[in-house]
């Protein structure tokens, strides 16, 4: 698959190298050149400097031929808007984004974007771990 990853932070760089190691063709986009230093030496994909909300940058990143677009910048609104541009302007088949705020996810999922909220995931994991720990102590 051709995959574009927006945001080369901890999650973005990890995600990009994971997909890359699974032999997918990956392009990572970020507004900061230094963020690309998080990518491993072995990374075979492309790292492109630019704003993911800018259609021209997205075209440079090859969004016309992308099978998937994943937005994982630090900013919920940027992620959602970039995902919407990918889905509704460029017609990318698989579009996913991270939103820290789970309350607003449903509004955007209605338009065919898959949103993942680490907030809910982590809170759930903490509860599970706590209950496990209590159970073990008993």
């Amino acid at each position: 698959m051709n995959v574009i990853v927006l945001g080369c932070g901890r999650v973005g760089s990890e995600l990009a190298s994971l997909l890359d190691s699974h032999e997918h063709s990956v392009t990572v986009l970020d507004v900061s050149q230094s963020s690309f230093m998080k990518l491993p030496q072995s990374f075979k994909g492309k790292a492109l400097l630019g704003n993911g909300l800018d259609p021209e940058t997205l075209i440079k990143a090859g969004i016309d031929k992308a099978d998937a677009f994943i937005a994982v910048t630090q900013n919920d609104n940027k992620n959602i808007m970039a995902a919407e541009i990918a889905k509704h302007i460029f017609g990318v088949p698989h579009v996913l984004c991270r939103t820290y705020d789970p309350n607003r996810s449903d509004v955007f999922e209605a338009s065919g974007i898959i949103t993942l909220s680490p907030t809910l995931l982590i809170a759930g994991l903490f509860v599970d771990a706590l209950l496990d720990s209590v159970k073990e102590a008993e």
């Binding site: 909300l53 800018d54 259609p55 021209e56 900013n75 919920d76 609104n77 940027k78 959602i80 808007m81 919407e84 541009i85 509704h88 302007i89 705020d101 309350n103 607003r104 449903d106 509004v107 955007f108 209605a110 338009s111």
Partner: protein, 220 residues
């Protein structure tokens, strides 16, 4: 009408002032404490809530279910778009109107259901182009052999030539200022003391290839 405005900057606060003068109930949602205090002084503290309009809970607090219009006026396109979508998707606000900063984003705003958009750049360019509209000139006579025309041009009031000495305004090479019709006065034959005035009808002989340059020289 109940009007909720995201952003208490220049656009948001002036819009709020105008909407409330027109008898509407107005509320501003402003993210920044200092800006919120400032706009509170302008339109009344009761009309401002400190908070992020992209948060569902803040929109709830603002009573968005009964809002007739939601305006998004910040400089960040992503914030404006998401706030409008929440207003519509969660609270069924009838009408969302958003400022759009990047003209390339107009399409996605409309596709995602924002009812009206106001593009900063488009508006400004339109206005600027309005200033630069080419003044109409009239060709009085064309000499085919010398490729020269006799042209009549009106001096607009915002032209840099206004109040300038005729001799100080550089015209294209070989252009000859024949004279000026000014209001009721007899035809003016220019001399070293002649000024251009707004509304002057200027008669110039000029090479055909220099007509555009002549119009620019007299009207910009």
């Amino acid at each position: 009408m109940y009007v909720v405005i995201m952003g208490g900057g220049q656009v948001g606060s002036n819009l709020a002032k105008r909407m409330s003068e027109q008898g509407n109930e107005v509320l501003i949602l402003e993210n920044d404490q200092i800006q919120a205090d400032l706009v509170g002084k302008k339109i009344g503290d009761d009309s401002v809530i400190l908070g992020d309009a992209c948060e569902v809970t803040i929109q709830e607090k603002a009573g968005m279910v009964r809002a007739d219009i939601f305006f998004a006026t910040t400089k960040k396109d992503e914030d404006n778009l998401i706030a409008c979508q929440i207003a519509k998707g969660k609270f069924n606000v009838k009408r969302t109107i958003s400022r759009v900063h990047n003209p390339d984003h107009e399409e996605i705003f409309l596709k995602m259901g924002v009812d009206n958009i106001v593009s900063d750049v488009d508006l400004m360019l339109e206005k600027i182009e309005g200033f630069l509209v080419k003044t109409a000139f009239k060709t009085l006579y064309v000499n085919e052999k010398t490729e020269t025309s006799l042209i009549k041009i009106a001096i607009p009031s915002n032209s840099h030539c206004v109040d300038q000495l005729v001799k100080d305004v550089k015209l294209p090479d070989k252009a000859v200022l024949v004279g000026i019709y000014r209001a009721e006065l007899p035809f003016i034959r220019p001399n070293v003391e002649t000024f251009y005035m707004a509304g002057d009808q200027v008669i110039v002989s000029v090479k055909n290839s220099d007509i555009d340059a002549l119009v620019d020289a007299l009207t910009i």
